[in-house]
C-alpha cells in the first residue's frame, strides 16, 4: 500500500500502525518536495520519471509497487491540500501523453496495465455541502484521469473515522 497524507504527527501516529507491513508512507515530514512546473519532461526527457531530484522523483514506481494508492487529505475548498496535490502532480509520468476517449472526453492513456486501487479519505471539521460535492466529483475525475477505475472516496469530520475505513480496506 502507498499512503500519502498531510496529517500532523499526532494523528499520523494513530493511523500508520494500521497499514499493512511494507507499506510506503509519504507525508509532509519528508519535506524536500519541489513543485511540479508542468515541464512534461517526465514524458519527453525521462519517460515515466520526474526530472526533479528529490524524494518524489519516482512517484509512479511507488504507486505501482503499492497496488493500493491511499490518500488522506484535509479538504480545502473541495480540493486536496497543496502538499497532497503536489505529490499527485509529480506522479504524471504514470500516464502517457497520448489521448484516448473515455466517457466521451479526452484523457491520457495509461503507461502500465497493472490494476490499481485508489482510496481517498478527505477530512474536515467544517466542510460545506458544496465543498463535499466538489471533492467527491474531483476524486471521481482523478480516478478517470489516472486510469484507476477502482476507486472510493470518503468524507469524514474526525480523523478517528479513518481508522475504521483503513481497517476495512
Amino acid at each position: 500500500m502507498l499512503l500519502i497524507h498531510d496529517l500532523n504527527v499526532k494523528d499520523s501516529k494513530k493511523i500508520t500502525p494500521l497499514l499493512p507491513p511494507n507499506s510506503k508512507i509519504l507525508s509532509k515530514e519528508i519535506n524536500n518536495i519541489k513543485g511540479c512546473v508542468g515541464c512534461f519532461n517526465c514524458w519527453f526527457k525521462t519517460p515515466g520519471r520526474c526530472i526533479i531530484d528529490d524524494s518524489y522523483t519516482e512517484m509512479p514506481k511507488y504507486i505501482l509497487e503499492g497496488g493500493t494508492f491511499v490518500i488522506i487529505t484535509e479538504i480545502k475548498y473541495g480540493c486536496y491540500t497543496s502538499y497532497v496535490k503536489n505529490v499527485i502532480d509529480r506522479s504524471l509520468g504514470i500516464l502517457l501523453p497520448f489521448f484516448q476517449t473515455v466517457n466521451g472526453e479526452l484523457h491520457h492513456t495509461p503507461r502500465y496495465d497493472k490494476p490499481l486501487k485508489f482510496i481517498v479519505i478527505g477530512y474536515s471539521e467544517d466542510v460545506t455541502a458544496d465543498e463535499e460535492e466538489t471533492f467527491k466529483e474531483l476524486i471521481h475525475c482523478n480516478a478517470v484521469n489516472l486510469c484507476i477505475p477502482d476507486h472510493k472516496v470518503y468524507v469524514i469530520k474526525c480523523i478517528s473515522e479513518a481508522k475504521t475505513i483503513l481497517e476495512n480496506l
Binding site: R49, K85, L96, F98, F99, E105, Y112, L138
Partner: protein, 215 residues
C-alpha cells in the same frame, strides 16, 4: 471605471497559456479599466502585495488545469491569502476565474471552477462567474488565428462576457462558461497524438521511447 487585479497561477509564468489568455483579455478591455497582473510566486512572499489585492474592485484568478483541479502552488497561495484576509475589514471584491486545460473539452474545467467558487465564499468575496477553456495549448499555439475567428468564436464570446461584466458593475447572475475551440474531437486527438510524437523527436527520442516502462 473599475480596476482589475489579475492573479496568474501558472507555474510556467509568462511562458504558459494562462499568460497568453490574460493578454488577450487585457486587449479586449476598455482602456479605462486599470489592470495589474501578479504571479503567485511573488504574491506569497510579499504581504504588501497581498494587501494591495484588497484595494481592487475586482480580481480574476487565472490558472491552468492540473489533474482536474489547480496546481499545488495555486492552492498554497489560496490558503496563504485566506489566512491573510482573516479578521481584516475589506469591501467585498468581485471575483472571477479563468481556467484552461490541454484537453479539448472546456467542460473538464468544471471542478476547478467550483473550487474557486467555494474559495470565494470562504474569503467573503463576491462570486461573479468562471470561464473554463478547453484546448488551451492549441489556442495559444495557433496565435495567427485570431480569437474572433470562426473556429475560436465560442472562446471569444466567453471573453466578451468577462469584458462586459468587468466593465459594468452588474449584480445579475451569470452562469459559469465552459467552452472550447470548434474542432472535431477525432481531429484534435489525431493532431495531439502526432504532436506528442513530434515532441519526442525534438527531444532526440524515437516516438516508441515515449512508451518506456521503467518500473
Amino acid at each position: 471605471m473599475s480596476d482589475l487585479c489579475i492573479i496568474n497561477g501558472s507555474p510556467r509564468k509568462g511562458r504558459g497559456t494562462s499568460s497568453y489568455l490574460i493578454n488577450e483579455l487585457i486587449k479586449l478591455l476598455d482602456d479605462d479599466v486599470k489592470t495589474k497582473e501578479h504571479y503567485i510566486s511573488n504574491l506569497v512572499q510579499d504581504e504588501n502585495l497581498l494587501n494591495e489585492i484588497l484595494s481592487f474592485d475586482k480580481v480574476i484568478f487565472v490558472s491552468p488545469l492540473y489533474a482536474d483541479c489547480l496546481p499545488s502552488t495555486m492552492l498554497e497561495f489560496m490558503a496563504t491569502f485566506e489566512d491573510f484576509v482573516k479578521g481584516k475589514n475589506y469591501i467585498s471584491i468581485d471575483m472571477y476565474c479563468l481556467v484552461n486545460c490541454g484537453f479539448l473539452e472546456g467542460t473538464q474545467n468544471k471542478t476547478a471552477i467550483n473550487i474557486f467558487e467555494n474559495y470565494c465564499k470562504r474569503i467573503n468575496f463576491n462570486w461573479r462567474f468562471g470561464v473554463g477553456i478547453g484546448g488551451g495549448e492549441f489556442i495559444k499555439r495557433s496565435k495567427n488565428m485570431p480569437l474572433n475567428s470562426p473556429m475560436k468564436k465560442h472562446v471569444y464570446d466567453s471573453f466578451l462576457a468577462l469584458k462586459e461584466d468587468i466593465e459594468n458593475n452588474s449584480n445579475h447572475h451569470v452562469d459559469n462558461i465552459l467552452t472550447n475551440a470548434k474542432i472535431p474531437k477525432f481531429i484534435f486527438k489525431l493532431a495531439g497524438n502526432a504532436g506528442w510524437k513530434h515532441m519526442a523527436k525534438e527531444n532526440n527520442m524515437k516516438p516508441n521511447e515515449l512508451y518506456k516502462k521503467i518500473y
